[in-house]
Symmetry: D2
């Protein structure tokens, strides 16, 4: 019997993404869509490309409370929202995944570092501190057993997924020098910012443009620093991150520069990466540089490494709405409910 899923925040791109994946999944069933803004409308009116794919209607949280008629809740909501529902859900034994930073951190100290960088939640205490320790951080590849067992999964930030997967083998092996400093230029499509109209995402401004923003201050870096810095032989990490907004819709390509603690050959590193990700069905280690479109519409993370003397450059490509968001959530749901990791996610990237 299909596992029943409720999506909260169903009308944003995150809600749309997981809805589409679940509609095509043999083991899951979407029982309700909750959203603040479009309650009462059919979801295929909100998103006409869904015409004929589903009859679901958007409900308000007043008519369909969070946790109703489901086995798991997916929160595709801003920071701070799921915190408010967490205790009640936990008490009821209901599992949930959250897309925001609410449950990505194992302690209030870690969370505080993140919150400090996030204008909308700076200086606010976490609303469900006691549950932080029960949440698993959802970069599926790093902790599949943890995710499988967790009552709560904190789905990772889109930039963090590509950075963490791209650097994990090197931090694991203690190969990153300079006290773990990595210079990262992240290139992202506009969809990571959601569908709300805003000056930065206005086509006349962004089309054909590249716009660096939150220079050295993006909040996703906190989870990358904490996660990478605690892997294996790692002893801290510090990602100097410059996000660049591109005039395209989907995709994140991270280019990461670092100094190795010991010399290594490119072939040796690629081999190590392939070994490290041997059981990860969505990580592809390539001989050639990954491209943004090489992962479009799929759940893949494509990675390659280049070396010059004691310096290495790692590049990773993901679809920010798939592996960077709903694809990771689907992968985590698969882990949580015992399906194959690839169930419902076995998609070739859309090319050309």
């Amino acid at each position: 019997m299909a596992h029943r899923v409720q999506i909260v925040g169903a009308t944003g791109y995150g809600g749309l993404g997981i809805l589409e994946l679940l509609l095509a999944h043999p083991d899951f069933e979407v029982t309700s869509l909750i959203a603040r803004d479009e309650a009462g409308r059919r979801i295929d009116e909100v998103y006409p490309h869904l015409h004929g794919r589903t009859d679901l209607t958007v409900d308000s949280v007043e008519t369909t409370p969070v946790g109703t008629n489901c086995d798991v809740v997916v929160f595709s909501t801003p920071d701070g929202v799921s915190q408010g529902y967490a205790a009640a859900l936990a008490d009821a034994g209901m599992r949930f995944i959250d897309y925001s930073g609410d449950f990505r951190f194992a302690s209030t100290d870690d969370y505080a570092k993140y919150a400090a960088r996030h204008p909308s939640i700076a200086d606010e205490a976490h609303g469900a501190e006691a549950l932080l320790g029960r949440a698993a951080y959802g970069v599926s590849e790093l902790n599949p057993e943890g995710v499988a067992a967790a009552p709560i999964v904190g789905n990772p930030g889109c930039f963090a997924v590509g950075i963490i997967l791209g650097l994990a083998p090197l931090f694991q092996d203690g190969l990153v020098g300079d006290e773990g400093i990595v210079a990262v230029d992240g290139l992202t499509g506009s969809s990571g910012a959601g569908k709300k109209p805003a000056p930065l995402q206005h086509l006349s401004h962004l089309n054909d443009n590249v716009i660096p923003y939150r220079v050295l201050s993006h909040q996703h870096v906190v989870e990358a620093d904490l996660t990478l810095g605690r892997l294996g032989k790692a002893n801290g990490a510090q990602v100097d991150f410059i996000p660049h907004l591109l005039g395209t819709t989907r995709g994140i390509l991270n280019t990461m520069h670092l100094r190795l603690t010991q010399s290594a050959s490119r072939e040796g590193l690629l081999e190590r990466y392939r070994e490290y990700f041997a059981d990860a069905p969505f990580v592809r280690v390539l001989d050639t540089p990954p491209t943004l479109k090489g992962t479009l519409g799929s759940n893949y993370c494509d990675i390659s490494v280049f070396v010059e003397g004691n310096r290495a450059v790692v590049m990773s490509s993901i679809d920010n709405l798939m592996k960077g968001q709903s694809g990771s959530a689907m992968q985590n749901l698969n882990l949580m409910f015992g399906s194959a990791q690839t169930a419902g996610l076995d998609r070739t990237p859309l090319y050309p």
Copy 2:
């Protein structure tokens, strides 16, 4: 001595466009920028690409009333705004150009047809009826003497410019059959909708997309119908117009299908077009189909004509922010103040 210009609505794309043209013009000087939203900020803070080009600061209409310290006012404002200032300006002998539909029509009857199609002004009476007869419609090529002499110029709608110039020779000669019906597909970049964030112009929605809108109901068609239908031997016109929003920033390409009243050769029609526009420095009659980028950043209107039996297809390309807006306004200002039509407008399109 330079003619002094005040720009009202200076922080939109229309205000920006005429500001840039005037800053580079030998005969004009911008003395003030008026806007509601950014008063007190330097215009190069609002638009960083202007850094180093001007020291002008945006004023509110409270501190710098409309008509202050200038020889002419350019209203780059929504429908209904200039109507409110028109009488006072006319009384003071101040000339002005308006970008909206307020002064594009010679009579209240004509204006009513336009207003009926325009959600924001439907059913509102014109606020300066008495002045309609003193305004010239500013498709510069059709009426250069009228524009030169007029105290008020109604700058044309962006779609209308390309449609009117593309069809004028045929209507002039009475060559359009089917009672003047022309089927027009207009393709436009996003900038015609201005800089205000909106769902239709969100990059994630519009990038790589084509979105037909206001199907058979766009308000610009009214001025095209009225203007074309009264040219030379014409006896009415009816443009069936489908605007299509493209995922690009600038440019309008209109493809126009019609039936000829009498057979004609392609060569003959091209020759007639060249003759008709012999004195129009910005109309280029091409042997090949015009392209959208072929006029980018310039004031050109590129036109070509194709014939199949008794049916003709005319295509025209303009930059919607230049010939479709500020370029036409600059050309009209040149006419009004006795400069050469091409003064300040002698620009090669930006290619590639």
Copy 3:
């Protein structure tokens, strides 16, 4: 047991498209990839986005002759190629689908009209005349039984699919006046021209551009004219077609203007369209104008109709590489081998 498919011309976008669909299809298996240019290379080297999806290697026709080890051949090849193999395949009882114009026409007369418009084959006689009568024209919706039974299917041209589906109900009912003349502006992404580098498809030229081409002379119109003009009460059709190349990769949006023989309401026409396509799982009749991205990556054809007096405008949107090419081929293969039409094609469009 899976039906075995050989793809000839496997390294172009058409071959890639059907390969991807077949790899994900439960009822089919790709047994060989034939191509001239990349023989000996793995297909995931040619297309890195396929990394991990298949181990297939490209063969030359010398090492793997056409028709080897398969139940059906898909020719994704230029005009003229499949003609040369057709007789041998027919003799061997091997069915095939062809993407070119070789088998879209039921008679040499019809084919001659098409060939006359096609520079590369003008004035060449068809190489397998005797087989034309055994081929079915593969707009699946118009002739599903014919396709199911045919030994040869002529897969339709990308523009033709959208035009024919958009206009079929009106021609069927004899509603198109003006002797069947329809003015059509087609907007297409670059991928229809294939992957071969060419000046028109160079990004620096095409990005942000709109380029009309083959004005009133595109060869796809011939199959639209012939097909529509013979439907139900229709008495000939003449599509005045202007293709416009856009600076985007995928998708075709056709806007079609025509005069009705009798007045009709918009609601009535939409109702008629819904009835006409009641059994067509991939045609969606929308209340709102279709958009280019609304069908991206899917096999849908989205259609809407608008009416003004006795004039109608029909718009249709398809993904040119799916419903316009490989998706239709897959749908036809499903019909030919008794699978559900939607098998392997049940995909939501990629949005945003």
Copy 4:
């Protein structure tokens, strides 16, 4: 009297760029266009956007030898071409500018480092060694007097311009630690690769894509390393450079990560940059991150600096066809012939 210019390689984007600038320049006149491929055609047939702007026809070098009827030659040609003409021109006292790497290096040793990275010229000896010492490297801001006096100017590589201007103040002051290592991610539009159709620049492949290439091996880095490493207190430079091809036409944005030898405040560095470029009319030091479109169509180089502890990030934006190529060439021609640096270059970026 206007200085007469001959353009060799006139039909590429580089030749087109300098032609357009010279046509609008009061002090220069183009007397001939030389190219191999389009000899005999009007240049406005090759580039229809030039319709009405010039009557010039493309000549072959056979009919119009290099150096004919001119005061200066601009070579917009591949590596190796101008070397062959250099001696004859020098003997005749004819000055020239070259767009390739032929005259960017002061010694054969330096040139050899560059040539080694360049597939088409690797292992070839320079054809005019004796003249290397008489050429000035044409980053105008670093050496205006040298350029003004030089008989030969080696116009810089597009990536090098943005990297050198962005880092010059720091290297000048000896502030770059880590032995001068700088990690640079360069983002570029497609036009830097010229107009020749190629797989990488095919719209279907590049649109919406990001494609890293020549990872850590791009030849432009050699001139950046040599130039920066010899500035003021600098003691060598090593740029770890990853170029990324974007799906847009124009522009280069470089993001550059380095470690400072001593702590510095952001304000202090910005102030130093403003002082350093006080006499450079085309360098704009911004408080906010530069954007790609912020310099489009102009000769500006926009720069900003950010600091975190002892680490700095510098970003610079140029139009690769202007400041990165023809704009720099025009600026150098102005210096060589005594015009103001800004003559013919006083253009506002095209925005939106």
